[in-house]
Symmetry: C2
Subunit: 680 residues, 2 copies
């Protein structure tokens, strides 16, 4: 069997041709042409995508037309198509796929134009995944109203924590004029239901401060226009000190009327250029960024002055909750960075304007490979909240190591905060918004750059894909998403699909097993966060301490003698986390200080557990390499080779991690490996 | 008493006015005017300096003239003045100060114009230090023929390991046009006998590669011309891959005739612009710099191809010996970076061209606050060698901490290598050149930038001053140099002079006492080398490992079970260093692996020694602050305040170092402090 040759640039939209046979014939019979009812840029994209996709999948010509009398083929549109199919018109962004009334065709009926586009991609996905056409009407609507990516792209073209080349939006201090790539990106986003992106880094340094001035707004408007046909709105990150930096106001105090006026003027200017702008993203009084704290004002006062300027224009403020003391004294054992966001924002509950959402990282620290769910996600009920996750692999292998993050995000989405009693999952409360869907959803920090395959590591495309699918429907399993992605990317060869799915599903725990153990976190090289440096952060100001000595390692975060962090959780979590027997084993060292010689529930000492997991982790990578090599004839050489090279680099990285972390535990503990393997 | 107000820009050449009295009157009587016999730019500087200095010191007008009939005043010149004074004409760069024949005047007779200039500064130094005029002729000549500073200045104006602002030679990719500052720098250099400087960083990246092209040579020539009246020649650092980078040759292989031709053309071009250029400084096959190893050629072949191009022009190659494996695997315990330079260069002894000097760092590692003397300084007898020390305080407090380095350099100069039996000190062999003075001397990495006071920390001026004085005369004591500097800088107030001298003399051991102990080295933050990060380099590629575990710390560098580094020393050092009882205590952890609980000769455990020294070190800084405060009325507020602020910063830094290093030893060892002080 000759494998399909797909340009990695097409990612999961390469639409590898279906094998000839009855299944293909059935689709061909039903989908021989595309009829778009209505006209708009978004509808045109839906029609175009269906034609391109069907032609590629089916290997035949698929013409597109406007209204026509015939009943066969694919019908796309809103109310009229729903009527045709005899289904109810779906809600906003939703769609139904059904038999198109009495004819032999298929109806894709959207609740609005965007719903049509999402429905078109969904139909193509079904066909490409071999699911075929539905026998009964299939209805979908997104769970998260806002499904957004934050780009940490800088105006000079670099990307903070970017591992896939340079920005597709900025270069050399200017907004890109390469709108073809932007449009192609918009198509990728639409295919997974992402409906908003922030273009620029939340750390808004000069010259990006000027992005909201006439110097750049014309070009920003062009980018917004390029994305609009794909249903993607843009947001901009702004600097809280904008009034000072751009116009020399004496302060950026949010209670100063001149500051409020400045934000009104800035908002008016930006909305004139981009009338459907989502709003502003703000990182304030955080990691050296200016903010309301500089003026003795609260985070709510800071957010509200900008929110007031945006409200009349329909804009929102996406206000990051990543606020902590980044000038901590390592000698201070009372302060616990894990507590910071909750301590900062819970007292402000109810104080934020209605068009402010507080954007909360999934964990209380910072995107480690294993953290508990942030307790703030189960708190502050009167505050509109967004879940923020990191797609770019800052702490999870920097797109050199394979690390499929959907299982991690699933744990967060499925976590029952007990905020309103049992059943208060993060998915149902924060992401879906519970009863209040006005401003709820999920934000992911993008992993995309200008490399040909968008994400550097081809397998990292699965994270981008998975983010969108999960924000759309958090009840999808990580495995189902992986299987979808594998089929869309590599075709329907069962061996490929099974192998890739299995590798993805294992990859996060494999990465974890040879890096920082049991939720301990922070054993990375400072600044780059690449590779191991177990005590690189131990005496620093960042609040990230292991507190290792010759007897034990980790911080007790319980209430009795610990930092009291567990008190931020609703029961039963508080009791569970505090109880070393009931604490989830993989989070043991996040919540507890444990002796190297202590026996874990598995029956081995902590030190031995570390050795075992680290040797096993590096071995698993060797297994990945062998498994991937087994697909040699089944994947085109370009894509096969690029993944193979990353896996080799991962192997070297895994061995380095293994040996450093094992050495670290061995040197402190003096405990030999029971299996007699080499420790340094 | 009102303290003299001196602009820190004048450094030790502010010439504070002498107090009225008999001593001043005696000098006034003898030195009321200056007569320069002969004419040259250098002689004119000698006359000008004498007039300026004497006027300021004596508080009266001191006219300068050419030849005249009268016998009083200061006479400066070469042979004629020697005759006048009835003394023998000194050798090159030397001078005699004596009564000027039958008259009441003073003769400064130089062996050449440069000797006259040095003699002029020497006379002024005597007067400013209160030594007065000599009753018997005083004769001096420099011990080191080459007394040179290496600037690590980049073309963009930054300075690698610079802690005193930006470059005085380069800005924004161009050679400076501010020749006034260059001239003032030349005057400082002449006053301490420095006779050469390398303008640019030994790490020659683009665009500095182009410094030896017509793009910059005109401006380089201007700098050379500005320094020439002060007897200072310039050198340039060049990139070994110049033939490839500048002219696209296929290789820089030193055995390629086209490469040899390229270097000849480059040398001719540079010497046309600067005919008295000293030569080229080269860092090759070192820390990522290109070099002969890339072509399978030796360091000698690399140096010689450039030397051959320079020889007909009278130029030399200053070839750095700082070659080691900077891609070491931390797991590799056989490789010892300390051995690298010796292993590289000793087999090449005799292979270097006569106009090549191998420039050797004082220690085998890299400018730690305490290292043994590099064994290469006592080896390779057929190789011309230069001693390289670091004036800029990379590892010694970055010009925030006070750290007078002259005692460290003295240890190196006075070290008896036993290369030719007892009495083979580094000073007499390498720096003075033994019997071969053609190419011998001492090179210091400069600590100067564009800050008003040149060195950031005012007390760091003493290091620049001390470097020059020591290269001139290595037998001067560190204390004598400190006392000179204190008097020249602050005047003759005995309290100030004693306090400053004592502080300087203590400062290096104080710095050592709260930082890395007993020659262990490398507990600094990677990359910046600022502040403590005990294991920041532990798992890195730089060959700098502590190998700490719960029992012991350090690397055994002996021959029996260690790395064999000690075998690079002549006896008795080899035996002394290998013997834990005889090894100099302050180098114990350089040569030996020692248990935390082991008793040191002082009778306390290693851990307790670390605690004691670190607490004592931080207390000593507090004492410095009190002592300095005691000089409040005795030093002008500008200079007093600037040092006071640095001392406060040093206190904070010392406390941080103290607590981190103590915590590190405590966590590993579990040994409590016998005095019950706080460990973290």
């Amino acid at each position: 069997m000759t494998p399909p040759v797909v340009d990695a640039y097409d990612a999961w939209l390469g639409y590898p041709a279906l094998a000839p046979g009855a299944a293909r014939d059935a689709v061909r019979a039903a989908c021989g042409r595309v009829t778009v009812l209505g006209d708009s840029p978004v509808l045109r994209e839906a029609g175009r995508e269906l034609a391109v996709g069907l032609e590629s999948l089916l290997g035949c010509s698929v013409p597109v037309s406007g209204e026509s009398g015939a009943g066969d083929g694919v019908w796309v549109g809103t109310g009229a198509v729903a009527e045709l199919a005899g289904v109810e018109t779906p809600g906003p962004e939703g769609f139904v796929i059904a038999a198109a009334g009495e004819g032999a065709g298929v109806a894709v009926a959207g609740g609005d134009d965007r719903g049509c586009l999402y429905g078109a991609f969904a139909l193509l996905r079904r066909i490409a995944c071999g699911v075929g056409l539905p026998s009964e009407p299939v209805s979908e609507a997104p769970v998260a109203p806002l499904r957004m990516l934050d780009h940490w792209d800088n105006l000079d073209g670099t990307i903070e924590r970017g591992y896939a080349g340079r920005s597709i939006f900025f270069a050399d201090g200017e907004v890109t004029r390469d709108l073809a790539r932007v449009r192609d990106y918009g198509r990728l986003l639409a295919s997974i239901g992402v409906n908003a992106i922030a273009l620029n880094n939340v750390n808004v340094a000069r010259p990006a401060v000027e992005l909201i001035t006439d110097r750049h707004l014309g070009a920003v408007a062009q980018v917004a226009a390029a994305l609009r046909p794909f249903g993607v709105r843009i947001a901009l990150s702004v600097n809280f000190a904008g009034p000072v930096l751009l116009d020399g106001l004496p302060s950026a105090d949010p209670r100063d009327p001149a500051v409020a006026q400045w934000w009104r003027a800035a908002a008016a200017r930006v909305y004139e250029a981009v009338p459907d702008l989502l709003g502003f993203v703000v990182k304030a009084s955080s990691e050296g960024q200016p903010g309301p704290h500089s003026y003795g004002a609260s985070q709510a006062e800071g957010a509200n002055v900008i929110a007031a300027a945006l409200a009349p224009l329909g804009g929102v403020v996406l206000w990051r909750a990543f606020v902590y003391d980044c000038e901590q004294d390592w000698r201070d054992t009372a302060t616990d960075r894990a507590k910071a966001a909750y301590d900062e924002f819970v007292p402000l509950d109810g104080a934020f304007a209605p068009n402010v959402a507080v954007q909360i990282k999934n964990g209380p620290m910072d995107y480690q490979v294993r953290e508990p769910v942030s307790p703030l996600l189960g708190a502050a009920p009167e505050t509109r909240k967004l879940l923020e996750v990191q797609i770019t692999q800052e702490y999870t292998g920097q797109q050199v190591h394979a690390c499929y993050l959907v299982p991690l995000w699933k744990e967060v989405l499925d976590f029952d905060t007990h905020a309103r009693g049992p059943g208060s999952t993060v998915a149902s409360t924060v992401v879906a918004g519970g009863d209040d869907r006005a401003l709820a959803g999920m934000v992911g920090v993008a992993n995309v750059g200008d490399e040909r395959n968008w994400t550097g590591h081809l397998l990292a495309q699965a994270n981008l894909y998975g983010f969108g699918r999960l924000a759309w429907q958090p009840s999808l399993t990580a495995e189902a998403i992986a299987r979808e992605w594998a089929a869309l990317t590599f075709g329907l060869d069962g061996t490929v699909r099974d192998t890739v799915t299995a590798m993805l599903m294992e990859s996060r725990e494999v990465y974890e097993s040879y890096t920082t153990p049991l939720g301990l976190g922070w054993m990375v090289t400072p600044a780059t966060h690449d590779g191991p440096s177990p005590e690189g952060y131990e005496y620093s100001r960042w609040g990230t301490y292991l507190r290792a000595d010759r007897d034990a390692i980790g911080v007790d975060r319980g209430t009795a003698r610990g930092t009291g962090f567990t008190a931020q959780y609703h029961e039963p979590w508080r009791s569970i986390f505090e109880d070393r027997e009931r604490c989830p084993p993989q989070l043991l060292l996040f919540f507890h200080r444990v002796g190297y010689a202590e026996l874990l529930p598995s029956g081995v000492t902590l030190a031995q557990h570390v050795y075992d997991s680290h040797f096993a982790g590096a071995e698993a990578v060797a297994r990945f390499i062998a498994d991937w090599e087994g697909l040699h004839e089944r994947i085109d050489p370009g894509r096969h080779g690029s993944v193979a090279r990353r896996l080799e680099a991962q192997r070297a990285g895994a061995e380095e991690w293994r040996d450093v972390i094992n050495a670290y535990f061995h040197r402190y503990s003096g405990i030999a490996d029971a299996a007699g393997r080499r420790l340094y």
